[in-house]
Symmetry: C2
Subunit: 726 residues, 2 copies
Amino acid sequence: MRYGHFDDAAKEYVIETPATPLPWINYLGNEDFFSLISNTGGGYSFYKDAKLRRITRYRYNNVPADNGSRCYYLSLMDSDSADAKPIETWSPTFLPCKTPLDSYKCCQGIGYTVFEASKRGIESKLTAFVPLHTNAEINRLDVTNTTDEPAVIDVTGSVEWCLWNAVDDSSNFQRNLSTGEVEIERETDATLLYHKTEFKERRNHYAFYGVNAPVVGFDTSRDEFLGQFNGWDTPQVIAEGKAHDSVAHGWFPIAANRVRLELQPGETASLVFMLGYIEVAKDQKWEDPNNPAKVGIINKKPAHELFRRFATVEQVEAALKELNSYWSELLTTYSVDSGDEKLDRMVNIWHQYQCMVTFNMSRSASYYESGMGRGMGFRDSNQDLLGFVHLIPERARERIIDIASTQMEDGSAWHQYQPLTKKGNADIGGGFNDDPLWLVAGVYAYLAETGDVSILTEPVPFNNVEGSEQPLLEHLRRSVNFTITHKGPHGIPLIGRADWNDCLNLNCFSDTPGESFQTVENNDTGVAESVFIGGMFVLYGSQYADILEHYGRLAGMSDAEIASEAANVRAEIGQVSKAVKTAGWDGEWFVRAYDAYSRKVGTHEDTEGQIYIEPQGMCVMAGIGLDDGKAQQALKSVKERLTCDWGTAILAPAYSTYRIELGEISSYPRGYKENGGIFCHNNPWISIANAIAGNDDEAFAVYQRNCPAYVEDKSDVRKVEPYVLF
Amino acid sequence: MRYGHFDDAAKEYVIETPATPLPWINYLGNEDFFSLISNTGGGYSFYKDAKLRRITRYRYNNVPADNGSRCYYLSLMDSDSADAKPIETWSPTFLPCKTPLDSYKCCQGIGYTVFEASKRGIESKLTAFVPLHTNAEINRLDVTNTTDEPAVIDVTGSVEWCLWNAVDDSSNFQRNLSTGEVEIERETDATLLYHKTEFKERRNHYAFYGVNAPVVGFDTSRDEFLGQFNGWDTPQVIAEGKAHDSVAHGWFPIAANRVRLELQPGETASLVFMLGYIEVAKDQKWEDPNNPAKVGIINKKPAHELFRRFATVEQVEAALKELNSYWSELLTTYSVDSGDEKLDRMVNIWHQYQCMVTFNMSRSASYYESGMGRGMGFRDSNQDLLGFVHLIPERARERIIDIASTQMEDGSAWHQYQPLTKKGNADIGGGFNDDPLWLVAGVYAYLAETGDVSILTEPVPFNNVEGSEQPLLEHLRRSVNFTITHKGPHGIPLIGRADWNDCLNLNCFSDTPGESFQTVENNDTGVAESVFIGGMFVLYGSQYADILEHYGRLAGMSDAEIASEAANVRAEIGQVSKAVKTAGWDGEWFVRAYDAYSRKVGTHEDTEGQIYIEPQGMCVMAGIGLDDGKAQQALKSVKERLTCDWGTAILAPAYSTYRIELGEISSYPRGYKENGGIFCHNNPWISIANAIAGNDDEAFAVYQRNCPAYVEDKSDVRKVEPYVLF
């Protein structure tokens, strides 16, 4: 089943029905203000941090799903009188109204989303984007009367406010229901509805939702807007045809602006709605702090300035054009002309766009990540770098310094750090022994792309401790040394709490529900080893040696020092490589690991979990087994044992019972094809490994299996198999 | 506006419309299994702990509100064929269907709830309760055809499963969507749908939702049941008239049973639906662990046993009767015959019921407490004791020991402790200086009610450290000594982080949004004092001296020791009392506190926050000022300055700006009557204080102002003023 198509000229994916298997979303914003937006208008906005500074409310896993975000209602009215009643109401984004539309189209573009709809001869076009350098989402709405009669259309746009902290907002009702505060500014040419909860207290930020037109009414109380028992599909004020002009005190503040359009046949009217976020200096919080009559009235000047920058259609058009130019230029940095339309499309547009989103969001907020959990991953952020370093090298450099600054003195790493404080996340801790090597991977990619060797001598602290600064090259040295000094009985690196697969927990023996598999370490016998990290060490250790040999002199090393250290690292690589080829080889594929009792994990000797995907890709990428047929054999086993139409399974056969010595990996139910889930993350590695091994056709086949451009007709697979999510 | 009435004979509150201002709820369960149930069928169930062991899913602050809990659908079908279509569908609890009913009634009883409804001549009666000593909620549904024609009624009952941990369930979607597992057991006389998510892994508990009848179909996948875009009001399978017999794998598991009733005119059919919770021993988890064909099949024996205990209408009737008898007997422990119908009603039935609910829930789960936050409060649990000690003295004794076991060696206390571990909650910590004295209040009430002096010599540890046990009397001594040794410059007790009012934070100077007012202590100058704790010390210190004098000998003290210590305590009381009467007296009322700069809080010298409620009630209850007119004057000021139709305000005038030296109390927006919110908690104190001062009429008037029996016609006040919530 196909739900849309790529429009390469416009660089858009055009969704042709609101009834996609799940909401299909886009990410708006490039710097500090971000929005998620689905093909039916769902999603939410936040400033910098989806947990601590959420601007609009979103309900994950809700029934009905994906409602109540940006809600737009077009009501065809029966007259232009003050008491006019709606003949019919629909949403230009289909939801929340659910009224069947005569036509519908959602174009998910590069940094913007456009909805085109028609109903009863009234055409609408809603364009949503976050302008460059702007803390606001613009929703431009064009409404055209294509009938032969004049039409009265009431347009209501609404958002629901989140009380800033997304966790508190969804749990601390004893407090929340008493704190909500709003202000209303209704002018003849515009109406701005302000959300200022806790501004009285310690916050110095507020939000607003405005429209560049006079309103016939507004609402800021959700109860008044919706009425009792109603959902967002049928608000009471929409059914009544009239806003209540409600002013929220506590309970549930929202912002809804109602504008009346009177359109002659053929006439188009355009409205600009804006969701804006404002921060003010502490001494600039209030309109007039010395006037008792103005106590509590917020300083709206910065909101006015922001609003006026996009108050006309011309301004909005210019801003969108500027955004388009920004992206066009970014995407010229790298492009291919392969002769394969689909490959070009993905490489030239969508992969790069995806990588930028990853840079911006770092996987912290999506329709599966609630934005309330994790910070930035040490491993993830380094991996992600490989995708965006060519697009935004300056910001990649900054990110590398941020990451390396959280590294510990012994070369180990915090597993996550908080984007706001940039400090290690003590809740998760460290001990994921692959982490340090990813720093080498990230820096190597940065050097290869930019040639900016100055980064190697940049002073970078350990664990953010002032005074502990050492050149970045020293951080890489400690990363590599950490692996060298943490090897197990077979000469293979110790796994610690887990490696790339956070669910393989060989030192955590957990029998308590709810206990974190990632933080409990209660049976560390000091012997559990990871063949995957072995492959990593061979690959990234070698990159480190290359860096040394090329640039060690910049860091003040003598030729002899360089030669000696590089030789030592290469000798270590040789040993690990040999260990992987012997103890790490199961006969037809690479073993996954050795557990806390030094028993093989991922072996044909087992009844389940015989073969794992990760070491096959990583070891071949490291070149292990290219000389003696092991690489080819491992990839053949992957194809035969782990491959299905939707990608590469993480392991096979799936574990039917929980194994306390393996941890979370064995805890998932059996899923698709009786395997333990499909990890699309692995497909690029398998693709690259095949290319390295000379299997170009298979490399391309693996790529195609997961690439949206090639699997458009299978796009509803996500509906039927949760295990394909990752 | 009135929404119902008290039925004293039945001990019920009868709600006559589903459109109450907010859901009006009841609490089912007495031991380990609890349910919240609203007058439209909303709510959820949990086992022991609303956060860690939640059985059914509930969405707080949702749109539409209060949907998706126990959903019952009655569909009048157009035939008895397999392809019959629904003529109309409604809910016997009104929600989620929202179909207007011909008649509706919800009786909130003592431990049970009954819904009576009729539509199209079909009458229904749904009775919900948790039987004694049972981990299950019973929903008995009687359906009667009062028309002259035979009728085919399809009954669908459904619940949505929570994946056990309520916090994870609402945030960790990356994992949750892949873990859901169910089993289906469809027999000729009954159908049980099992929820076994994570049972494969470390859990040894599962849940089931069954009906004592053959089903025409079932669903366990929410997506299949609801269909795309639909809410609980219009599930797809209900609209289609046919279940999909879906089996959930991951995503969103639910349980829906569909039973067909064919009713002749005048005929009644009865169904018993059961939501059950089962724990099994680790070695009893599986049906047949040695049979590979049975891998993953759970041991259902205990579920069958539980289900069979309530599989007939007669069994259900007997269980309900047993529950009624249990309650009737409990309520005979204490009763009044005052001649005032409303007073008798509240004292003899509802106050006692409320106190039992408080014992069971300890305020951890309600429609305002999400069940995801706080544990048991040290202060709260002692206060609550005063209400239920006469009903369940054995369990009160146990609770006292639990609380005292968390006390620190220096007499201070953890502010909260976790009900599962019974250990202090390190996230909140201690330093709430009123806490220790509440232990004296609880123990004194226990002794006064039961005469069980053996509790005083019971060995109780400090901070749960084995080996630290001391007689309970020693704990009381340390409580009192903590206050004696923690006084400020005026001889008034130091407040610490806060006293009874958690929002008065005199040592926390917070200017960072999101920072906890209760745990930050960044400006403790060691001088901030609480007049409220002064009153407490006079009252409960005196109770301690009484205990000593009466029972000190039991604890091995000599008469001389007793006399000496009691005299010392009474001397301290005299000093604190004097300090309260001088430095703690503002001229017309008691001062609230002294801040970190030793400035008065709650004084006419201020422009706002001039008078606070707490010290007025507590000081008069302690007898301070009864001799010199201060008590009468303070109560007069309360009446004039803090009293309104709905109770007693916490302070007046409200703070218009945030004061960093006062903390959260000044952070709330101005609310009703420009005061800082109405704390109904305080009304009992003011009532008692007036009685002590001889103002019987005012004592009763204060009581009446907040007592449901007297304010039935004002019951929608909760809708219009969030500040009245507390």
